[in-house]
Amino acid sequence: MKTVIAGAAVLSMLGVFAGKAHAADAALIRQGKAAFDYHCAACHGTTIVSGNRHLPGTEALIVKYQGKLPGALEERTNLSSELVKYFVRHGVSVMPFFRKTMVSDTELDAIAAYLSRNDHSGTDTHDSGRAQ
């Protein structure tokens, strides 16, 4: 009985922690969406590129992937947190690297959490991006 109670308590605690972790993730992802809109969307937005509307980052990735992957980063399902952080701090092609006064580590954590929220590719995601 004691074991059962203890087990139930552990499960309950795990549930609480899992709930808290989930809530924390959700909050981080919300922060990440806001930070993405502020820092990244002018180049990497999702809105359809048409007419006179240009999103240089999204357009470049559409050309790169030729339909095999979405051009919009928010629609990707294979971006790891590490990969997002790598590109922000190292740049790629015409995209420069960004100082920590431009995009802070806290903001970058949130952006990375947001863009990797649908990452189903496991841990080995570097190749798909580093090819850029």
């Binding site: 002018a42 006179n52 240089p56 357009e59 470049a60 015409v94 100082r99």
Partner: protein, 550 residues
């Protein structure tokens, strides 16, 4: 990396003082953090002259800036202030003097005031054009901003680099349209310029001069102080916009075209004229290149024949008008009448009519958003179907030429001749970027810029050297014709300033006199636009010794 001439012990003491001033979290010394202060578009990337940084220091208040400046003086540390540091193509966030400490003002990002009745704003260095635009839009204020093509820079840094934009008249010259500064001097003292010198001033951002000598120009493209606040005149939000394009068939039609546009613009009838040549669309065709690459050069009649063969006009110019629906129509019709009288064969194509404010979708579909005061990043082109392997970055060559057709034609020929036979980067197929179809840029109100963009690479130092040599050559060609650059990356600032040599560099020597008196330790922005501190001027009393090799 250490600043030149500074021992590891001294640098450690300085770093401790900087941490004391701004807090440990805002002093960046790790290699990975410091690397972020390099110029991502450095044309000398991978070459000996590539600018390196020893540390970044990011204050959040004027008092912290003063403490950093005083500490830099005590320890003789070269510091280099930046605002947003996004001046890519003209130097980015890296200092002229390799090993300097970047004084990063990005975290000072308050919008102090925006007044939409008297039409001005006062901002701190870290405010971007996007920030100011959002602030105005969120509050429904009836003013526009004038920004450059990329909106991630800010009003202060751009104007202090003599940056330019695309809306109406003098607003496009961002230093001209600034009004009032707050500056931390090299000795740590705080001044306010113009009316700001009056305690409790009520017109700091409206009347430029106050009384007595006007000193604001000292703080642009220079190292005379750290600007911490700045006022700007803003364009009252117009009611309507209307555009049309005039097409002029012959090459020499450019002369009356510019003359008429100058009249219309300088009289306040039209906004920015945007020149172009429809022949740009066919410039890379073999038959066209054959004419352009003739060792003897091209003739005007050959260019006219090419245009006629392609059934294209030699020139186009977009006419833009702001005002009410009625006045925009009247002004546009008046402009067309004058142009038709001056160029009888000219044709016109009506453009767009917009009433403001625009919806989000209307904003998204504006072809050139800076012309309507909308910040964006659309000028950047990464990978496109036409350019599947774009360069990592670019640098600009930006000579100022007179605002007439004759000078445009002369500049086309001068720069094209200079590059004929020169091994050119493969961008644009390795073709000469200067052709009879290059049009002038009209950001400045009273002069043209005859711009060319050149690739910069993080992986191809050989090409970087090639570009570096070409731009040095173009600077000399420009100087030989009486044209000077208005702005240039650190890699070329000494060469550009050397060309401004009237009366044995009398202007530079006067600037040095002021610099030595106000910054005796030479800590601020050493070498910015050729202004080196006294202890580094071994060559003719003007330049560092190492420049003898360049």
């Amino acid at each position: 990396m250490l600043p030149p001439g500074v021992s590891a012990e001294e640098f450690a003491a300085a770093t401790a003082a900087f941490k004391e001033a701004v807090g440990e979290a805002h002093v960046y010394t790790s290699p990975e953090d410091v690397a972020l202060y390099q110029d991502a578009y450095d044309v000398l990337w991978g070459l000996p002259g590539q600018r390196q940084v020893s540390a970044g220091v990011a204050p959040t208040s004027v008092e912290q800036v003063q403490k950093v400046v005083l500490a830099a003086n005590r320890h003789r540390i070269p510091i280099y202030p930046i605002s947003t540091g996004m001046d890519l193509g003209y130097g980015g966030s890296a200092p002229n003097l390799s090993g300097g400490v970047v004084l990063d003002l990005k975290l000072m990002n308050r919008i102090i005031e925006v007044d939409d009745k008297r039409h001005f704003a006062i901002v701190e260095p870290g405010v971007s054009y996007f920030d100011l635009y959002r602030h105005i839009q969120d509050r429904g204020l009836k003013v526009w901003i004038d920004g450059p093509d990329p909106g991630w820079g800010g009003p202060m840094g751009n104007s202090l680099d003599h940056g330019v934009g695309d809306t109406w008249g003098g607003y496009r010259d961002h230093f001209y349209s600034h009004c009032g500064m707050e500056v931390v001097l090299p000795n740590g003292e705080l001044i306010r310029t113009g009316m700001g010198a009056l305690p409790n001033a009520k017109t700091w951002a409206e009347y430029h001069y106050g009384v007595g000598p006007y000193v604001d120009g000292l703080f642009a493209q220079s190292g005379f102080g750290v600007v911490t606040k700045m006022g700007f005149h803003l364009f009252p939000a117009p009611e309507a916009y209307r555009s049309a394009t005039v097409f002029a068939p012959k090459r020499l039609d450019l002369i009356p075209l510019v003359e008429q546009m100058n009249y219309l613009e300088h009289a306040g009838i039209i906004a920015q004229p945007q020149y172009g040549s429809p022949m740009r669309a066919v410039v890379n065709q073999a038959a066209v290149q054959a004419v352009l690459n003739n060792p003897a050069g091209w003739t005007d009649s050959e260019i006219d024949e090419l245009a006629a063969e392609h059934q294209l006009a030699s020139w186009s110019c977009q006419i833009q008008v702001f005002g009410s629906p009625e006045t925009t129509l009247a002004n546009l019709n008046y402009a067309k009448q004058r142009l038709q009288a001056a160029i009888p064969a000219a044709t016109f194509k009506d453009g767009v009519f917009q009433r403001f404010p625009l919806t989000s979708e209307q904003k998204a579909q504006v072809p050139h958003k800076p012309s309507l005061g909308i910040p964006n990043l659309e000028a950047f082109r990464g990978r496109t179907p036409e350019s599947p392997a774009p360069p990592d970055g670019h640098v600009w060559f930006s000579p100022v030429i007179p605002k007439n057709g004759e000078s445009v034609l002369e500049a086309q020929r001068a720069f094209s001749d200079a590059l004929r036979g020169v091994d050119l980067p493969t961008r644009e197929g390795g073709n000469n970027p200067y052709t009879p179809f290059n049009a002038p840029s009209t950001w400045m109100f009273r002069a043209f810029v005859f711009l060319s963009g050149w690739p910069a690479s993080k992986s191809n130092p050989q090409q970087n050297k090639q570009v570096y040599d070409i731009i040095l050559k173009l600077i000399q060609v420009a100087a030989d014709h009486g044209w000077g650059e208005y702005r240039t990356p650190p890699a070329f600032q000494d060469a550009v300033v050397k060309a401004y040599s009237f009366n044995n560099h009398a202007l530079l020597r006067y600037q040095q006199l002021l610099k030595d008196a106000t910054d005796p330790n030479g800590i601020l922005s050493a070498g910015r636009y050729g202004l080196w501190p006294k202890h580094m001027r071994q060559l003719d009393g003007l330049w560092p010794a190492y420049l003898a090799k360049t």
